[in-house]
Symmetry: C2
Subunit: 220 residues, 2 copies
């Protein structure tokens, strides 16, 4: 009776992400910008999701997810990230190529498929971009992490994730031999342009503010 459509799923996921993991309300325009649709389409959809009890919609005031909406969003994100792990670990996709395919695979409906995929992958905790994989029961582990750009000189940490996961950024990291799991040591900050001198897995290099502002570290 109340099946959630492909399109509705995409909207729910966007509301979740834009609203700080389902905690804040989100503006119509923000959703439209993020999904490359028009604000009027968003309004339409939010009214429908409101009627289905998946979002709290108040005219002109933005939307937030209901508990049911949050559960639905987490289930889609779980599938998205499990498929990303599959693509990278089993099929040898590179981490910059998986997003569009996972964007499709996340909509496949079969609980058994998700469970067996999870098992096949050894119950992974994080996706290839360092993002946590929501549990079957809907629990969403959050990890201690800080942007490289916000840490003081002399900090040591492990690179555990990316904020921007666009193909161009990920390819840049590949080219410069920066990978998740690498140990990073901040040697020096350049006041002029906020660039950093760091060692990444013991190799010294300079990273721009742009880069540093998109890399998450776990402090050691």
């Amino acid at each position: 009776m109340n099946a959630i459509s492909h399109s509705e799923e995409n909207y729910l996921k966007t509301v979740f992400h834009l609203g700080a993991d389902g905690k804040q309300a989100v503006a119509t325009n923000a959703i439209a910008r993020s999904m490359k649709t028009k604000p009027s389409s968003v309004t339409d959809m939010m009214q429908r999701l409101g009627e289905k009890g998946l979002v709290n919609y108040r005219k002109y005031r933005g939307v937030s997810l209901t508990e049911a909406g949050k559960r639905a969003a987490l289930s889609i994100i779980r599938k998205h990230r499990l498929w990303e792990v599959f693509l990278v670990e089993k099929l040898n996709f590179s981490w910059d190529e998986v997003h569009d395919v996972a964007e499709q695979l996340e909509h496949i409906k079969s609980e058994k498929l998700v469970d067996l995929l999870d098992q096949h992958l050894g119950f992974p905790q994080y996706d290839p971009h360092g993002d946590p994989i929501p549990g079957k029961d809907g629990n969403y582990p959050s990890r201690e992490k800080q942007l490289l750009s916000q840490l003081p000189v002399n900090t040591k940490g492990i690179c555990i994730g990316v904020k921007d996961s666009s193909a161009s950024f990920l390819k840049y990291l590949d080219k410069n031999r920066i990978s998740l799991g690498d140990k990073i040591h901040i040697l020096e900050r350049e006041d002029f342009d906020n660039s950093l001198l760091v060692t990444v897995a013991d190799t010294e290099m300079r990273v721009s503010h742009q880069i540093a502002a998109n890399l998450y570290l776990k402090i050691l």
Copy 2:
């Protein structure tokens, strides 16, 4: 420019199967029956597919696939069967559970995904039901095979496929320990009900005409 929709793909596949693998024309009613839609919906869709150059549509005369339509159908069937192999071989689905999931997975659009999946599976030739997997280039190998019900007493063969691949038939075969690859020897035919006395992998058993009419053998 002319992307083929989810729904159009399902129709193309049905026309392919009902028309003896794209060789014959197919009636509107046959398509509607097979897809559980109404004949009027089929007419609509066939007119659209006709305009797209994927079928030859002549009012009241049924439809056949064009070369482009055949290519599209084979590509979907290739994906469907590769995913079925994946589900059974890698995720341990049983062969009676894979169809509905593959029905969704076959619509995922990514050439790279299909190529890498094919490689990951070791370039399988047949799906879990014994059906051949079309090649990347669109070639469709056909296999010498005959229905068990149509073979004379004393024939020996290998069970290589099923005609009916409904869950109920497949579960029946599991229960009776009949699997693809088993050696079958026809010992006796009962004239009264056309049932057969056979050995399956050296175990003697009686199979009804219903069963025999849905099992394909390769004669030894």
